[in-house]
């Protein structure tokens, strides 16, 4: 609940500050905000329904076997690859991660999934290679994959 209050007050403050500075560009910014809001709305509804179904129909044991403690070390590369290949907007990956965690997924799997999802882009890899060169792009994505797994393991150990 604190998060809600802090984030909304911060956004209000920034908005007031922006309005005082330049009202024309603030209106532009609000138009951008509204457009991105409407664009992400269908995905939000989809993920919310998906989470409902997950909570209602997938047994805790199944989730625990696939992405939980019972999945063991073999589960991790699979979760990491899923995160790298899937094209889920990062903003809606967090509610999904939270629901999996609630239903018995391990901190490690969830952290690995969220990290590869954001850091690695298979879809954007061709663009990245064109702009930055093949070597830099492949090194960055490859090392991000390893980093994500290490981050997940460390988080599982600490939390």
């Amino acid at each position: 609940m604190y998060t809600v209050v802090i984030v909304n007050s911060f956004a209000c403050l920034c908005l007031i500050f922006a309005l005082l500075k330049d009202s024309k560009r603030t209106r532009e910014a609000l138009a951008v905000a509204l457009r991105s809001f409407l664009r992400i709305l269908p995905a939000i509804f989809t993920i919310v329904i998906f989470i409902g179904l997950l909570m209602g129909f997938v047994p805790r044991e199944t989730i625990s076997q696939v992405v939980g403690k019972e999945a063991g070390l073999m589960g991790m590369p699979i979760v990491a690859s899923l995160g790298a290949v899937l094209h889920i907007p990062s903003l809606i990956s967090f509610p999904l991660a939270a629901s999996l965690l609630e239903r018995g997924a391990s901190v490690t799997s969830v952290a690995v999934f969220v990290t590869t999802l954001t850091m690695i882009g298979i879809f954007t890899l061709p663009l990245e290679m064109r702009e930055l060169g093949r070597k830099v792009a492949l090194l960055r994505n490859g090392m991000s994959f390893i980093a994500a797994i290490l981050i997940g393991i460390l988080m599982g150990l600490i939390l």
Binding site: R25, I40, V48, L53, F94, V114, R140
Partner: protein, 164 residues
């Protein structure tokens, strides 16, 4: 956008079929969906407004100007900071990174910039805080910063060795 709507329609159909086949599960499914929706809608407008403001007020030229300048570790940390500003998807960052590369910025700073842009953006951190809690969010943020810097330095070293 059209794909998203099709996916939504498909999920809705699946929901209706499953709930009519298993009426006993209706309550659990609807309550969980509603709770997650509520949690999201309470912060989403604020997150979008922040993204909109930053994308209009922070100009691309400013980012390039500052990042081209910082040398050494200062450059790397500036890159992390600028990457984290809430200003749009990853594919926008590639051309910016490319122009930084041409202007002679260090590879380590560019890798840190891209990692931050992909993975420690302010809107993402807000949503992560809301859903996964302060411990999860803060720990993942700290580890990501450490690994982004290490990755930048390692990749820089690998590329330098090839050049020699």
């Amino acid at each position: 956008m059209r794909g998203d709507i099709l996916l939504l329609v498909g999920t809705l159909l699946l929901l209706m079929v499953l709930l009519s086949l298993f009426p006993a599960r209706r309550w659990v499914v609807m309550v969980s969906s509603w709770n997650f929706f509520l949690k999201m809608i309470l912060i989403l407008p604020a997150v979008m407004i922040l993204m909109g403001l930053f994308s209009i007020f922070v100009e691309r030229e400013t980012v390039v100007k500052y990042l081209g300048r910082g040398a050494g570790m200062k450059g790397v940390f500036l890159a992390l900071l600028f990457g984290a500003l809430p200003t749009g998807p990853l594919y926008i960052a590639f051309p910016i990174a490319a122009s930084l590369l041409r202007k002679g910025a260090r590879i380590s700073a560019i890798i840190a910039f891209l990692s931050a842009w992909a993975c420690i953006k302010v809107p993402q951190e807000i949503v992560e805080l809301q859903f996964l809690g302060p411990h999860f969010m803060a720990l993942r943020l700290a580890l990501t910063v450490i690994f982004a810097v290490l990755m930048g330095l390692t990749i820089e070293r690998i590329l330098d060795q090839r050049r020699l």
